[in-house]
């Protein structure tokens, strides 16, 4: 133990002594230079402590060796290792056979793959990764790819530094891409605002007014805070104040848009959850407490599909939609044929029976899949966000789910309004006896309708698997909300469900910033209760005698 300790400490001591020595040496600049070639510097990486890493990384980045950017990138990504035996630095990438493919750092040569036990990682932490990102940005400013350059300028905008600004001054004339040049000029204008003469400052402000980048606003605020009380009437103060006012206005506007988007996104989740219920509860009049579990089954179907086709994650959701529809739909038909049809006209018993079914289904997945949450992976096209401007971006997963919800809604509308099945469903729901007299098989229609409602709940489950945890209790979280939406929108009315879901979602999201998610929920609930008191049949009550 002691020996190992000594072995570990000794090189460190030696190194620090060495660096002390070179420090002294360079200060009088007469004796031998420390070996600061790229190869010598990176050879220090395996033995350098995390707390001493930052200056070493700086020194490496200052080298002109062509391998520098690649090295820093790999270090940031955590792919830089060294071989325990030889201390040779390598880039390691895990391959299919549970071992690691190696590339030598110095000459780029391929080495024989090894297991993890032969390797040791060069450790980094947040601060060092941040530092590397800054350093890389300065290098990337002159990269070939436009998107890399764009990213580098953005990075520089958030963390301005002297070298970066100097490179931008040099590179801006050569820059071909308009939007990058624009952002580069913003970097320079901010610099001008901070360090320029008065006239330059005012010129910079007038050019910066109307920009949306938070960095611009921060620079302006910093400038205005520097001014003393006496200067409040100066031209500079007015210009700054003006510009900040404009930025705040823009900020408020985009915040409004953002809340609207969040509201619509929550609304679309509610719509997906409730739309199946509109059919089973609204059209058939069955209080189906197992509706949430149909969604859960849909979510688990997605999980099973991802597990069965691990190489097709990108398409798994598209495959899961029909599969979930079929699985949940069949279970729905089974429930209708096995239980609900015997309880026709006895709502209380239906409620209790379906509640029992929901418990059975929960326990079933608990037994099959374990009580722990299952992880459904998000395909690449659903991660990240669409940046419209620096203040306003839409996350892809929410965006797709809004579109998906609307798609499901309109297909269902089409089925009910235009197909013969829809005609039969509507006929049975409006007047069962008359429909039967016209030779519609009402029992068959009931089963299919219930299957349709359940199948759509299954589809909703596919979408939910991207937003929340897939576990046995998934359905429970949505069942109350679904009933609320259906009742609020008017039982049996599809358009009512759409309007109700979107209204509730938007309302909730506008209230949330003020009062937190819990209170916002309560307020919405109380509001709903009051509304139902006034209009017991919801927003858009079904016309006709049949619903009584």
């Amino acid at each position: 133990m002691l020996q190992i300790l000594m072995l570990r400490i000794f090189p460190l001591l030696f190194l620090s002594l060495l660096s002390l020595h070179t420090f002294a040496a360079s200060s009088d600049a007469t004796t031998v230079e420390r070996d600061t070639t790229f190869a010598a510097l990176i050879a220090q990486l395996p033995t350098t402590k995390l707390s001493k890493m930052a200056p070493l990384v700086d020194e490496i980045a200052a080298q002109s060796a062509p391998q520098v950017p690649e090295l820093l990138q790999h270090l940031m990504a955590g792919e830089l290792y060294y071989l325990k035996a030889t201390k040779q630095l390598v880039y390691a990438q895990q391959n299919q056979q549970q071992s690691y493919d190696l590339t030598a750092v110095l000459n780029g040569g391929e080495l024989a793959p090894v297991t993890i036990y032969a390797l040791k990682k060069i450790r980094t932490n947040n601060r060092i990764r941040g530092q590397i990102r800054e350093l890389l940005a300065n290098i990337d400013l002159s990269d070939k790819s436009a998107s890399v350059r764009m990213q580098a300028v953005k990075q520089l905008l958030d963390n301005p530094n002297k070298t970066g600004i100097a490179s931008v001054t040099r590179l801006i004339k050569k820059e071909q891409q308009g939007d990058i040049r624009e952002l580069m000029s913003v970097v320079l204008l901010i610099e001008q605002l901070a360090n320029g003469a008065l006239a330059e400052k005012i010129a910079a402000i007038s050019q910066l007014t109307g920009r949306l980048e938070p960095a611009v606003k921060n620079a302006l605020v910093k400038e205005i805070n520097k001014l003393s009380a006496q200067q409040e009437n100066s031209e500079l103060y007015k210009a700054l104040n003006n510009a900040i006012g404009k930025m705040e206005q823009d900020g408020d506007f985009y915040q409004l848009l953002e809340h609207l988007f969040f509201g619509l996104s929550l609304g679309s989740v509610l719509l997906l959850a409730a739309i199946g219920l509109t059919i089973t509860f609204g059209v058939m009049g069955v209080i189906n407490m197992a509706h949430g579990e149909m969604m859960m089954l849909g979510a688990y179907t997605t999980y099973v599909i991802q597990q069965s086709f691990p190489s097709l994650i990108e398409y798994s959701l598209l495959m899961a939609v029909p599969a979930a529809f079929v699985v949940s739909g069949l279970v729905g038909i089974l429930i209708e044929r096995g239980v609900i049809r015997f309880l026709k006209g006895r709502p209380l018993e239906t409620l209790l029976a379906t509640f029992g079914i929901s418990l059975i289904l929960q326990q079933l997945v608990r037994t099959i899949f374990s009580p722990l949450n299952r992880q459904v992976e998000a395909p690449q096209w659903m991660s990240g966000s669409l940046e419209i401007n620096p203040l306003f971006s839409l996350t892809y997963n929410r965006l797709y789910i809004i579109l998906f919800a609307l798609m499901v809604f309109f297909s269902l509308l089409l089925i009910l309004k235009k197909s013969s099945l829809g005609l039969h469903v509507r006929a049975v729901s409006q007047n069962r006896d008359m429909a039967r007299a016209l030779s519609i098989k009402s029992a068959w229609v009931d089963a299919i309708t219930f299957g349709l409602g359940s199948g759509i709940a299954g589809i909703a489950g596919v979408a939910l698997s991207q937003l929340t945890n897939v576990g046995p209790n998934l359905g429970q979280a949505y069942i109350i909300d679904s009933f609320l939406v259906v009742v609020f929108g008017g039982v049996g009315n599809l358009w009512g469900t759409l309007v109700a879901a979107m209204t509730l979602g938007t309302f909730n999201k506008f209230l949330e910033p003020w009062m937190g998610p819990v209170l916002a929920n309560i307020i919405v609930l109380v509001g709903l209760v009051l509304f139902i008191q006034k209009r017991p049949k919801g927003l858009f009550p079904q016309k006709g005698r049949s619903v009584e």
Binding site: E377, Y396, P517
Partner: protein, 425 residues
């Protein structure tokens, strides 16, 4: 003839039974009060298994005081009042000598009056909000000054955070912890407008607004950090939303107090890499004791993929300490063991020695780790020495004058140093 045989047989059976009975009466009974069903089962079942493993281990070494240890396992089913009921059952009916149990603070508060009434002894192995010290409980998890305060210090000094977002699940532990942290930050000169506090219900999954707010709060040019006391599975959608809105650990690091190896196991942690957690134990720390513990745990549970975590270490330390205290006292009598416990030292799994202090809290090291792509943590900072657990926070006005000392002459869990009286709080 037949009759004779019968007598012989029955007498053999009877003596067998009798020895069995006497044997059973001489066993030392260890109560295990962890939920084995309901929402907390995921976390607590692991601790039940840890206690069982420790008991098997102790018995293999010849038991305790020449007797065998015997586990009495009950299931309070994540139902808080049931903790009191099952606790009473363990103490009154099964007459256990010690209880290892509880996870959530609300369950501990539920069983506490029963422990005090029947003079039981319980070891509580989870990090908690402090503001409590009972004669009948030993707290082997972290108090706020052993987890929250050092974590904030790290963010402040090493990361350079100036603006703070305190996110938590809406119940007693996050609320009390955040109250302490807020007072601490204000005392450190952080302005009130640089602190944002937000609470969400258990299982919250729609994080759009909150993450957007955090992003906006963090875009003023000052380094911003999130301190998260979010509990349970709400963490997964939270971290996902962070990733989707493009917030990386370098921009706004999240320091979590309730996310450990167990919570991360089986999940793809790539989007979480670089975010932080503060604990007193990480599985990734390589010491001889820890390697031994991990190996025996995997062997006991029969699964090579199982991980170890902080509350397991706290259970391990608590059990080892209780064994030592019983050996020292020479009896399992609660009062004797309670006094013998104070000053007992046991090696930590991560190196160093844990000592039980007179306030029934441990001295432990504090570690801060960054989440790795394999679901483990890499230690990026640790306290140079162990930290003494403080039952009553110095940063809350209501508790700053209180101390806990269960040795004579004070013998009080909430002694007010100003009035020199047991405050009875």
């Amino acid at each position: 003839m037949k009759f004779k045989k019968l007598i012989v047989a029955s007498s053999i059976v009877a003596t067998g039974l009798m020895t069995n009975l006497t044997y059973a009466a001489e066993n030392i009974k260890v109560g295990v009060l962890h939920s084995l069903s309901g929402t907390m089962a995921i976390s607590e079942t692991t601790l039940k298994d840890t206690v069982l493993m420790m008991i098997a281990d102790q018995n293999a070494q010849g038991g305790l005081l020449g007797k065998k240890l015997e586990a009495v396992v009950v299931d309070p089913a994540s139902n808080w009042p049931l903790f009191a009921e099952k606790g009473r059952e363990l103490l009154a009916k099964d007459k256990v000598d010690v209880i290892f149990g509880s996870w959530t603070s609300v369950s501990r508060k539920s069983v506490l009056p029963v422990l005090e009434e029947l003079n039981g002894l319980m070891f509580y192995p989870v990090q908690y909000e402090g503001e409590e010290s009972s004669k009948n409980v030993f707290y082997t998890g972290a108090a706020p000054n052993q987890q929250a305060i050092p974590a904030v210090d790290y963010l402040m000094n090493d990361i350079g955070a100036e603006r703070w977002v305190l996110l938590g699940t809406d119940y007693v532990y996050p609320r009390t912890t955040n109250k302490i942290l807020e007072a601490y930050l204000l005392a450190k000169g952080v302005k009130a407008e640089d602190i944002m506090v937000n609470y969400t219900p258990f299982g919250h999954s729609d994080w759009q607004n909150i993450v957007a707010d955090v992003k906006k709060f963090g875009s003023t040019g000052k380094k911003t950090a999130v301190v998260s006391t979010i509990n349970g599975d709400a963490n997964i959608p939270f971290y996902k939303e962070l990733g989707n809105q493009g917030i990386s650990a370098e921009d706004i690091p999240v320091m979590a107090f309730s996310v450990g190896e167990e919570e991360l196991s089986g999940f793809d942690t790539t989007p979480l890499v670089g975010h932080l957690a503060a604990w007193n134990y990480f599985q990734s720390v390589r010491t001889e004791e820890n390697d031994k513990f991990i190996t025996s745990w995997k062997k006991f549970i029969g699964n090579d993929k199982r991980v170890t975590n902080d509350p397991m270490e706290a259970t391990y330390i608590g059990f080892k300490m209780w064994v030592k205290a019983v050996e020292k006292a020479g009896t399992t009598d609660v009062n004797a063991v309670e006094q013998a416990m104070i000053g007992i030292a046991v090696p930590n799994l991560t190196g160093g020695i844990a000592v039980m202090n007179s306030n029934h809290h441990l001295s432990k090291p504090v570690l801060i780790g960054e989440i790795q792509a394999n679901g483990q943590f890499e230690v990026v900072w640790s306290t140079p020495d162990t930290v003494i657990g403080d039952a009553w926070s110095d940063f809350l006005p209501s508790s700053k004058d209180l101390i806990s000392d269960w040795t004579a002459p004070v013998s009080c869990g909430n002694f007010n140093i100003k009035t020199a009286k047991c405050s009875g709080q």
